[in-house]
Amino acid sequence: MDQQLIAGYAPSQPAARMENHGPHMLKVVMQSGHDLFARVGSMIAYEGFVQYEPNPPAVRQRASQWLTGEGAPLMRCHGDGLLYLADYGANVVILNLNDESISVNGTNLLAFDAHLEWGVQRVKGMAKFAGQGLFNVAVTGTGWVALTTRGQPVVVDCGRGDDETSVDPDALVAWSTHLKMKGKRSFKASAMIGRGSGEAYQLGFSGQGFVVVQPSEDSADRLRARG
């Protein structure tokens, strides 16, 4: 077989704990003592000796608010080796937190270091808009976090605009935690008679910080849908 054609896709030597392999794949260097939380079902390949523990009790308790309380769709990965994760072809964005904190939409979280502080937040005011409510995971500390976005994301500074920044909740991926946030309806009487603009609800952000937005309003949780 002529391997010249596929040779370009061989993994490169790891240079950091988390790396992209192409825009859609995450490569994590696993080492015992440095566990990782990843979305259940996101593993696509691994090399070495890596074990998975879905929904460990500690996670279950911390994430009891996630969706309907059926447990967080997280697994603890431990062992030595290389772990490859992906989410149905979504783009993977890797963040290296340096004593920082970020709030990530639950469906857009792919993996994070287990030693990071994290907790599930319920986004205030949104529960009654979107059917199932919007759940967020706030991650704090120094370490690595990987997000998935449908399409290449854009990072918008909230501080720059004169007014607050309004985001379609389906396109929202993550935001810096110290932003002020509120649910917003741009709802008019005309919308009651079937002539809405299609943009009825937004989240308004204000303060110093940034918002990460994906170029797609597809917020379906593919990893969860598969069960």
Partner: protein
């Protein structure tokens, strides 16, 4: 404000920035590819007459330090510092190139750019991606050249032969010991990071530069950038399975935890495992320099502990015998979110329509206060006071729509502020009309200026899915944003131009559309048919074009 360059664009540096001390960042990436990024200082005949002005991983600066290689930072794969006023007069052109190291070809590169940053602000950027290339192994990205004054040109020219061919092209001599160095960086002699570069007055790396740039370490402090960036590969980069001496083979296992401990941010817990050798260990006899190993310019010679024979043996993993080496966690300094997110930053304002990336477009409504019509639900974010209201497709459109249930749902965005549009991560193409007209398949219209005249037409034909194809004809002066799934192809209209009705996105309005059916008498003779029986044929004068996407909705 960064100016976007296209291939072939040229500009005076003085028009871009008043700064003379520039940062040039190059980013190029592809799955499994690694690149050697270098800078050639050429004379008036475009020859590399002086080898000392070939700036690459083995020679990170020119003699008078007008050209310096700084390593990876701020999202750039490689970066250079160019001090225009210090460049000697015989150097008339600086050519920045990227050459593939190892297997692969340029078409596998995903995306990349070369950018110029002055005073912490990006002033110019030329972006490219692998689709512009084919089997090339090297590419000339951009040139600084001196014609009365320094200018910048976006070149984007590919080269088949890689770094060596580039060198030959510039008349450089490929020395015998240089050739393996280019092909096999793992065996190149190590270079000492530039010593006296800790003070860089007037030179600011781009905003959000990683910590090493702003926090100069004390001379005795452990280096900020551990050598383990790309460190654990002495055995892997060698050709063939022979791993060398036993000390060699176990070296990476030792090196990585050590580097991990050194490179740790203080907040992190110390990793378990054996204590690494102290950083004062003498450097090993043979060090290596990966082509893009980030070097902290101000750090002293990092102690390279990869092959230290005094270090205690790391416990081997249970698979140690089968696997050549178990990868360990190499860890650089925690860069922080700002740096990692920098490449996704919002593009600066200026024009009415700005493409943020391939999939997001931003319109600035405040510039002339003209409303924008967009597909309902395509807004992902807005800033400022923007009002969204319903906009019907007009009476005629509604009649058409009601007949088929395919009404185009629009909303009108008014007010002042910026609105970001996107749809299902489709690739966006803003088309600026200047009095001309274009037909766009209605499914592919994302947003357009209200100032454009438009009407909905239908193309009927037997066999078209859904009974008819709806197109919107735009005319006037303004911008239409068209979506495609994947990068499209633009074909000139010839006497025999056909397109699938599902895949065609847009065409120039002067082209005439005919529905053509392939009728083959013997079709029944075969158990199946090609499924490509109904096509649209386009006819028109030369100069007309059609746009086809690689996706049949």
């Amino acid at each position: 404000m960064a100016r976007e360059f296209q291939r072939g664009h040229k500009a005076k540096i003085s028009d871009l920035t008043a700064g003379r001390d520039l940062y040039v960042g190059v980013q190029v990436a592809g799955p499994g590819l690694s690149f050697d990024i270098s800078c050639f200082g050429l004379d008036a005949d475009e020859r590399l007459s002086d080898d000392r002005y070939f700036i690459f991983f083995n020679q990170p600066k020119s003699p008078e330090e007008s050209l310096q290689q700084l390593g990876a930072q701020s999202g750039d794969t490689e970066s250079f510092r160019v001090t225009l006023d210090k460049i000697p007069s015989q150097i008339k052109r600086l050519s920045f190139t990227a050459a593939l190291d190892g297997a692969g070809q340029m078409s596998q590169a995903q995306s990349g750019y070369i950018r110029i940053v002055a005073g912490g602000e990006e002033v110019a950027r030329y972006s490219f991606d692998g689709s512009e290339f084919s089997t090339e192994r090297a590419v000339m990205l951009g040139d600084f050249y001196f014609k009365d004054e320094w200018r910048f040109a976006a070149v984007g020219q590919g080269f088949d032969g890689g770094l060596e061919a580039l060198l030959r092209n510039f008349g450089g001599e490929v020395l015998e010991e240089e050739e393996p160095a280019a092909a096999e960086p793992a065996q190149a002699p190590g270079f000492a990071p530039p010593g006296g570069a800790s003070e860089q007055p007037g030179f600011a790396p781009p905003a959000g530069a990683p910590a090493p740039a702003s926090a100069p370490p004390a001379a005795s402090a452990p280096p900020q950038q551990p050598p383990a960036f790309g460190a654990p590969q002495p055995a892997a980069t060698q050709q063939g399975p022979a791993p060398g001496t036993p000390a060699h083979a176990t070296a990476p296992t030792i090196a990585a935890p050590d580097a991990y401990a050194q490179g740790q941010a203080p907040a992190q817990p110390a990793p378990p495992g054996p204590p690494g050798p102290p950083p004062q260990q003498p450097p090993p006899t043979q060090s290596f320099s990966p082509p893009q190993a980030p070097q902290a310019p101000q750090a002293p010679q990092p102690p390279q502990a990869q092959q230290n024979p005094f270090a205690p043996q790391a416990p081997q993993s249970p698979f140690g015998s089968q696997m050549p080496q178990m990868p360990q966690i190499p860890q650089g300094p925690a860069a922080g979110m700002g740096v990692t997110l920098d490449k996704y930053r919002e593009a600066p304002t200026g024009q009415r329509w700005t493409l943020q990336n391939e999939q997001l477009a931003r319109v600035d409504l405040g510039i002339d206060g003209q409303p924008v019509l967009a597909r309902q639900g395509s807004m992902v974010l807005y800033q400022g006071k923007v009002d969204f209201s319903y906009k019907g497709a007009g009476f005629r459109g509604r009649v058409v729509g009601n007949a088929t249930g395919q009404e185009m749902q629009l909303m009108r965005c008014t007010g002042g502020g910026q609105v970001f549009f996107a749809e299902e991560a489709a690739t966006l193409h803003p088309i600026e009309l200047q009095g001309d007209s274009i037909c766009v398949s209605a499914d592919h219209v994302l947003a357009f200026d209200e100032g454009l005249q438009y009407e909905v037409r239908r193309i009927e034909g037997h066999g078209i899915p859904g009974g008819a194809l709806f197109t919107m004809v735009f005319q006037g002066t303004g911008t239409v944003v068209v979506t495609t799934q994947g990068p499209p192809v633009v074909l000139p209209v010839t006497p025999t131009t056909f397109a699938d009705a599902d895949a065609v996105v847009a065409w120039s309005a002067a082209a005439q559309v005919i529905v053509s059916s392939q009728v083959r008498l013997r079709r029944q003779a075969y158990p199946g048919h090609s499924g490509e029986t109904v096509n649209l044929q386009f006819r028109g004068a030369p100069g007309n074009f059609i746009v086809v996407q690689p996706y049949e909705v």
